[in-house]
């Protein structure tokens, strides 16, 4: 594992944003820019996934989907257990757990940039897994919360989020989910020559737009450090421990279950290790309003995201390489 591998634009722009915040620079980003970029990036991933899917082996694809569902359902439960063991109240534990079952597209794309910079091949299925993994985590989070609340009485007059039907609806109409699956469908169904007309926009520019997005995310992450004292040492530690657990699980799933190579296994590890800060927070705002957003945002954005970008990705890759090599 060679530190110079981190000298890729994506990582360095993230570091620049983080640093700008650290030195209390007055650098400001238009808030709308980050929102626009995240929409653009999700569509770009979706299109890529759809194209891959169109020439993917169905059996393998189904296998990857099942593995993604398994990770999405299992990891939040592990997280929930750890958080309760740490004496966190059940509702905050449920909300945080959902974030760790889901994924961070920004981290995933940084990993792809990291692999590409070293000319490491990777399987296409993880892109599909990424789209799959948003929803189960949200669902598990809601189930944990319902269970935590005991009888649903408090939710009685909020039928929209608390009945099972609505619960599933919200998980699948989540903005990010719609964008990912919608553009995946477009990439899968549109003829290549017709897709080619939008390739310059959604594909050629992709890595540059990602860098700009990560610059802003670096600043966002930096702003959350101020809240570390507030969330407490246990949760900050959890924000470093949980990605290691998720990453290890992902390594095993990627290598032994899915039989991926060095690249693909690294990406599955990143799916397991990363925590959502775009799709899941709004979902939790509505589904578990009692939870404190400053907990889950500080953890996913301020602790786990930087940890994965700087330490995690190279680490998971090292182990993935060992597994593949062995």
């Amino acid at each position: 594992m060679d530190a110079s591998n981190l000298l890729i634009p994506a990582v360095m722009f993230f570091a620049l944003g983080f640093l700008a915040q650290g030195v209390r620079s007055d650098l400001k980003f238009p808030p709308e820019l980050a929102k626009a970029l995240s929409i653009y990036l999700l569509i770009g991933i979706g299109l890529k996934g759809g194209i891959e899917l169109s020439h993917a082996d169905l059996a393998d694809a189904v296998d990857a989907v099942i593995a993604a569902l398994a990770l999405g359902f299992a990891l939040p439960i592990v997280a929930y257990g750890i958080l309760l063991a740490g004496r966190l109240d059940k509702l905050n534990a449920s909300a945080i757990a959902a974030h760790y079952g889901s994924v961070s597209a920004g981290t995933f794309l940084t990993a792809i940039a990291y692999l590409s910079a070293q000319q490491i091949e990777y399987e296409s299925y993880p892109v599909i897994m990424l789209a799959i993994m948003e929803s189960p985590a949200i669902i598990v989070g809601l189930l944990l919360a319902r269970y935590s609340r005991g009888n649903g009485s408090t939710g009685a007059d909020d039928a929209r989020t608390h009945h099972m039907g609505e619960l599933l609806r919200d998980a699948f109409t989540n903005g990010s989910v719609i964008l990912l699956f919608g553009s995946m469908a477009i990439g899968w169904s549109v003829k290549p020559d017709s897709l080619a007309t939008i390739t310059p926009f959604f594909s050629t520019l992709f890595m540059g737009a990602l860098s700009l997005f990560l610059l802003e995310m670096g600043m966002e992450a930096g702003k959350r450090i101020g809240a570390f004292r507030r969330v407490g040492a246990f949760l900050v530690a959890f924000g470093v421990l949980m990605p290691l657990i998720g990453g290890a699980t992902g390594l095993l799933v990627g290598h032994y279950w899915l039989g991926f190579g060095e690249g693909g296994t690294t990406l599955v590890a990143v799916l397991g290790a990363s925590a959502s800060y775009i799709a899941v927070p709004p979902a939790m705002r509505l589904a578990i309003p009692e939870a404190n957003p400053s907990y889950y945002l500080t953890l996913s954005l301020g602790v786990t995201f930087p940890f994965n970008v700087i330490v995690g990705i190279p680490l998971y890759h090292t182990f993935a390489a060992r597994l593949a090599g062995g």
Partner: protein
């Protein structure tokens, strides 16, 4: 100028995901309309930089006749009881055409 008539201005600062619920609330009470402004800030729910949806606020404004204030506030209270993080403050205001707001 035309005479001015007293109304109540209900202000709610909350996460943007609550907008849909607040619009439903306004329609449920048949207000003449509502106004939404994007906002950032900080409070018990932590820092809301406005950059990510999960950390973006709105300022939701509702003009209602005093007769409607109580019933609307009951619904707002219900949202707070459910745990939603929001700041709600009510001010006196005056309008020229009271009939417009007394749907």
């Amino acid at each position: 100028m035309a005479q001015l008539h007293s109304m109540k201005l209900i202000n709610i600062v909350a996460n943007v995901t609550l907008e849909e619920r607040l619009v439903d609330l306004a329609e449920a009470h048949a207000t003449s309309g509502y106004t939404v402004l994007e906002a950032r800030g900080a409070g018990s729910a932590g820092l809301q930089t406005g950059v990510l949806e999960g950390g973006s606020n709105i300022l939701f404004m509702l003009i209602v006749p005093e007769s409607k204030l109580a019933e609307v506030m009951v619904d707002v209270e219900r949202l707070m009881k459910r745990g939603h993080h929001l700041a709600c403050f009510v001010s006196d205001t005056q309008v020229m055409r009271p009939e417009k707001y007394s749907g």
